[in-house]
Amino acid sequence: MRRFFDAELETFRSHLILMGETAVRQVRDALRALVEGDSALARSVIVADDELDTLEVKIDNEAVRFMNLRAPIASDLRLVIVGMKAGHDLERVGDEASNIAKRAIKLSAEPPLKPYVDIPRMTEITMEMLRDALDCLLQGDEAKALAVCKRDVEVDNLNRQVYRELTSFMVENPETISRAIELMFISKSIERIADHATNIAEETIFLFRGKDVRHTDEVKKVGPAVA
């Protein structure tokens, strides 16, 4: 039986979807701003971060109001809880994209240190992870969600590779230090975005199965320990 407050849940869900789409767009645009040296695009990413901040507050307010006035149970309650958590993760994704854009503006003032290979590769994987996690938010695919968690190790490995490569640049030529440091931070931001994608994937399993898989063997990464 449909209840009048089901429309409120649909609105809530639609705000979450909008937030996810905006976050993906921000990451994509931030990377493009870096690779193409496009400061104007970078500035638009920084400004657009307000959209994600506003959506996070809206989602939290809707969630709290719904819990207060509708006393949700079962999957309604899980949706509201997951919505708040995923909203927080997506807001952080937005902040990281904004940070990448700020550093892209700095880097655009000098010639690129090297052709960008690993960073775009990391970003591509991260965006696939984010999109898959957001798909799971809509339709609950436990296998797909777990696959997102397992993929995080690829991004971690690429991040380590970027660090190693940039470190050797800095050792060989101190003039590269300022650019290398910016790129290391950018790489770190992408690695953090991938972590947020895995958080969202875990949350979708809780949403659809009521199962909390955080820190369990099911989602543990198989790979070399972080140095």
Binding site: M1, F4, R70, A71
Partner: protein
Amino acid sequence: MVILRRGPTLVIPSARLPAPMETNPPKTVASPAAPNPPAAAVADPIIDIQNLDFYYGQNRALDGITLQIQEKKVAALIGPSGCGKSTLLRCLNRMNDLIDGTRIGRGTVRIHRVDIHQPDVDVIELRRRVGMVFQKSNPFPKSIYENITYGLRIAGIRNRSQLDEVVERSLRGAALWDEVKDRLHDSGIGLSGGQQQRLCIARAIAVEPEIILMDEPCSALDPLATAKVEELIHELKQKYTIVIVTHNMQQAARVSDHTAFFYLGRLIEYDETRTIFMNPSNPQTEAYVSGRFG
């Protein structure tokens, strides 16, 4: 612009009045009561209660109630047993007149700015325009059809097609038509509890009220029937002002726009429902809604 549906006036022309009866005692000096809490300010409220006292014999059951109810909104009255919420509800259509030894003390109840306790008020017309649904549904021992048409026949409406039209409109308005359209001449008391309650709502709306009072309308119903009545309240408030007394706080939170919390005959707090349940001003309100009262 909101169009107010006005029926004939509540006030009887003095030529038709019966001999005046002693209704109110001489006004007494008001005892110092706690200052009224700030009510949610409402421009041109449909129901305007000002400083109302009400007595069962010597017992003051309502103490200085000031409350304004907005048109086409749902106001919930909540509070522990004996706090006066049902008494106040019954003041709004003078059902308390039917109980011996009751009287209002100081204060007024105005509906559409008319003081409903004035001697020239047509109480029957008042109760048509301010309908009531009770905790225990009370369909007449007649057919479903006759339950709806009873009030209309008394008002002199006999035309069959007109009655048919009102029956269908009322049953649709009470979300009962689809369930009973093929058995309108079956007995009303043969319906399930939830259906009986919706029949009582249909009966109330058949005479085109402006306000519907509901005294714990769902407390005798199972969760599914309760859900149907709540959905109905959500629909009805587009056309009618609703005042509902309920013990079920989740229900008050779900269906109402404004909530009034009563304790020991006093209005403790009255505000938008989302404020009462999220961030009430008064610690007693907070204790009650969070289940820590008593």
